[in-house]
Amino acid sequence: MAGNYDPSFAKEVFDNVDSGEEIKMCMQCGICAGSCPLRHEMDYPPRQIFTLIRAGRRDEVMNSKAIKLCTSCYRCKVRCPRGIPVIDVMHGLAHYGIKKGIIPRKGTAAFGGEFWKMIYNIGRIDEKTLPLKYNLLEGLVPGIKSTIEMAPMGIQMFLHHRMKLLPERKIKGIKELRKMLDKAKEMGKGGAN
């Protein structure tokens, strides 16, 4: 069956996804795919994600593994002959998917969400409580299980002075920071929602 081309999804991406308009410049050379360390784990290489957007395949793009697997190594951005910040586009698509509720808050989406919450709450990251919070997101029982699994590593870190004992405190300017972040959310592409 022949799939139909539908330009409306491309427009949605250009208008609402951070760095989304940059994909217009893609000439499908595939150097991003050749440079990606997790390409073999992806269902579509980045260049094909861009083709799918052009063709209007919203579901295939938003449900793809590819947009969730960026390690942020920047190699694609460095090498793209058209200067497309591929990494920023992939992050933008993932963010958009999470925001729209298409990508479930599991795994990286959940971890990143907690990460951001912690920044919003205290301005910094507390390395010892973050994984804990993330594990508990999976539910109490599996969370405890994951925590126990990770415990030997934590103990090692602790024994080698690499764990901050005191809980991280809020930065002094947290109120202003939050005001700024609220404003940034509002002013960002596609608005706060």
Binding site: S72, R75, G112, W116, L177, M187, G188, K189
Partner: protein
């Protein structure tokens, strides 16, 4: 030379050995650091799951703006993840006036303003270009003769703008290792990503990346791996057990920070300043053999 030091969250915890060792090493090279007051997290590479581009940029613009309001020195970021966030924000805001205006509207909420008067630099850049190979050589009173080191660069250390080293064939890490008498081995995977921020959440997919890096270091005869990024150090060191379990391998490769090796070469205390005891996989034996202790 005076700098702002942006240590970031990791250098107070998981990357503590980096912080402990870099301070005396930089001091020995005549560098002086001032912390950016009340700094906040850079957002790392994973914040996109919770925030938009502009919000993450705001975090970094705030740090730079605070630095700008208190002094005129370069900002040094030892953590590659912090470095890339700061340098990217600084670069894009300097280039793009429209974006700069937007950010300044946001920063106004905290009475801050981004002017674009400072440079953001990686610690490795500062060691190489400001410290200098000659000075490091002359300070290295206890050279690490013949120590075979795989100088791991990782991804974010030199990308994306290639400010101080080639983004495809970096050489600064190896030159610094040579300056302290060590013997950097050929290491084709020195630029392969370790999995970075999604390591924890995509463990199964990323362990293979770490395995490839360790394999390459060992195949080229390295005795230990040197890094300049707490994320790389953590992923390469702490997950060797899990790699062994998954692939049936037998890795037990020490991973240290470049500054730890430099502290040793500079004749400093192996514990107090080089923080070798912070390493989970002990590097002391190999290092002591090299310095003839």
């Amino acid at each position: 030379m005076k700098y702002f030091l942006y240590g970031g969250c990791s250098l107070e915890a998981g990357g503590k050995n980096y912080m402990v060792s870099l301070e005396p090493v930089c001091k020995a090279l005549g560098m002086e650091f001032e912390e950016i007051e009340d700094w906040n997290c850079c957002g790392a590479s994973i914040s996109y799951a919770g925030a938009n581009e502009l919000s993450i940029m705001t975090l970094n613009a705030r740090n730079i703006a605070i630095a700008e309001s208190t002094g005129g020195y370069d900002i040094v970021a030892p953590c590659s993840s912090c470095y890339i966030q700061l340098v990217k924000t600084n670069h894009e805001l300097k280039e793009d006036a429209e974006l700069r205006n937007k950010i300044n509207v946001i920063l106004k909420e905290g009475n801050l303003n981004f002017k674009g008067s400072l440079n953001v630099r990686h610690l490795m850049d500062v060691l190489y270009n400001d410290g200098g190979i000659d000075k490091i050589k002359s300070t290295a009173v206890r050279p690490l003769k013949g120590l075979k080191v795989a100088g791991y660069v990782g991804c974010q250390t030199v990308r994306p703008y290639g400010e101080y080293d080639s983004v495809e064939r970096p050489k600064v890490h190896d030159l610094l290792l040579k300056a302290i008498g060590a013997d950097p081995v050929p290491f084709p995977k020195k630029m392969q990503c370790c999995g970075s921020g999604i390591f924890l959440t995509e463990l199964d997919r990323c362990l293979g990346l770490v395995k490839e890096i360790l394999d390459d270091a060992i195949a080229n005869g390295a005795q230990l791996i040197s890094t300049v990024c707490p994320m790389c150090a953590l992923n390469l060191e702490m997950y060797q057990d899990k790699v062994n379990a998954k692939f049936g391998t037998n890795f037990n490769m020490p991973v240290v920070y470049l500054t730890q090796l430099m502290a040793v070469a500079f004749g400093m205390d192996l514990k107090k300043e080089a923080a070798l005891d912070y390493c989970v996989i002990p590097p002391e034996g190999i290092i002591k053999a090299a310095i003839g202790g």
